[in-house]
Symmetry: C2
Subunit: 144 residues, 2 copies
DNA sequence: ATATAAGTTAAAGAATACTTTAAGTCAATA
DNA sequence: TATTGACTTAAAGTATTCTTTAACTTATAT
């Protein structure tokens, strides 16, 4: 069973032009063509595209993804390299999550700040608060 | 105590050109100038820049940040709007973290896959594995 | 057989976030 | 006072990731 670029795009919820772009950039060397030159996506190709989507969504640039795909084409001699790429990306993602959690704390503090300002009717009122009025977890954001 | 653009950039670990760009885009209306036209960053301006960095790192575009900054300039009449922006961004970040965690699982599966391939000396060997050989948490990534 | 929808390519365009360049000014030190 | 390093601006350049356009072809449905 095969899918055209439009069908595959719909299933993956991306634009057909995006899939053509990935192909042009060398990310889809495994996608075969019909006699007339039309791309024929197999079920397994969609799995590859899901991995590509995962790597993309976790910040890997197209060129990095291309390197990984090229490794899989080369075969078993690149197992170490592929593992290395994935381990690095894993650490990368762990750090991104940590970073986002830290940023979330700051945003939470600001939400608390404006909720408090909302009740008081002004932001000026907050500067008057004593340290005791600030929840413990937000104290680290206070400037002296 | 004031800092020049170069000093502020060093403290925030960004390029001076980035700070000038933010200024040009209207993100730093609070930064004052010397008689000669040189930017004078106050301690409090650096706090603002940390918030800008937080919003940027969590995916808010320059224009969105500009909107928030403009609200703070307008004053107390925009407390609701600012709170709305921050709450939306908060939800945004929560979703990003969830997404990254989901992607991390897929990467973890792939790491397991290539570690197993590494031991076997080939990826072909993995396709021969029975479902029992695949850790429970990775089974959802198996294609039938 | 023919019309039509969707496919193809190359090339140009768009959006975002900066960086670099060029020409000139400011401010601190010798 | 003169030099020097860092500042200023406007404008152009860069990188990335697609999208759009134009001209043409393929494949399907009547």
């Amino acid at each position: 069973m095969f899918y055209t670029v439009g069908e595959a795009a719909k299933m993956l919820k991306v634009a057909p032009s995006a899939l053509r772009y990935y192909d042009k950039e060398g990310l889809l060397p495994f996608v075969e063509r019909s006699g007339g030159g039309i791309r024929m996506f197999k079920e397994n190709d969609l799995e590859w595209l899901k991995l590509i989507g995962c790597l993309k969504a976790t910040g890997m640039p197209i060129k990095g993804i291309k390197q990984f795909i090229e490794c899989t084409i080369k075969g078993d001699e690149t197992i170490d390299e592929r593992l290395g790429i994935l381990k690095a990306q894993r650490e990368n993602v762990v750090k991104q999550i940590e970073q986002l959690k830290a940023h979330l704390e700051m945003i939470d503090y600001k939400v608390w700040y404006y909720q408090t300002a909302q009740r008081a009717g002004s932001t000026a009122a907050i500067e008057q608060l004593s340290a005791d009025d600030v929840p413990e977890k937000y104290k680290k954001f206070l400037k002296k």
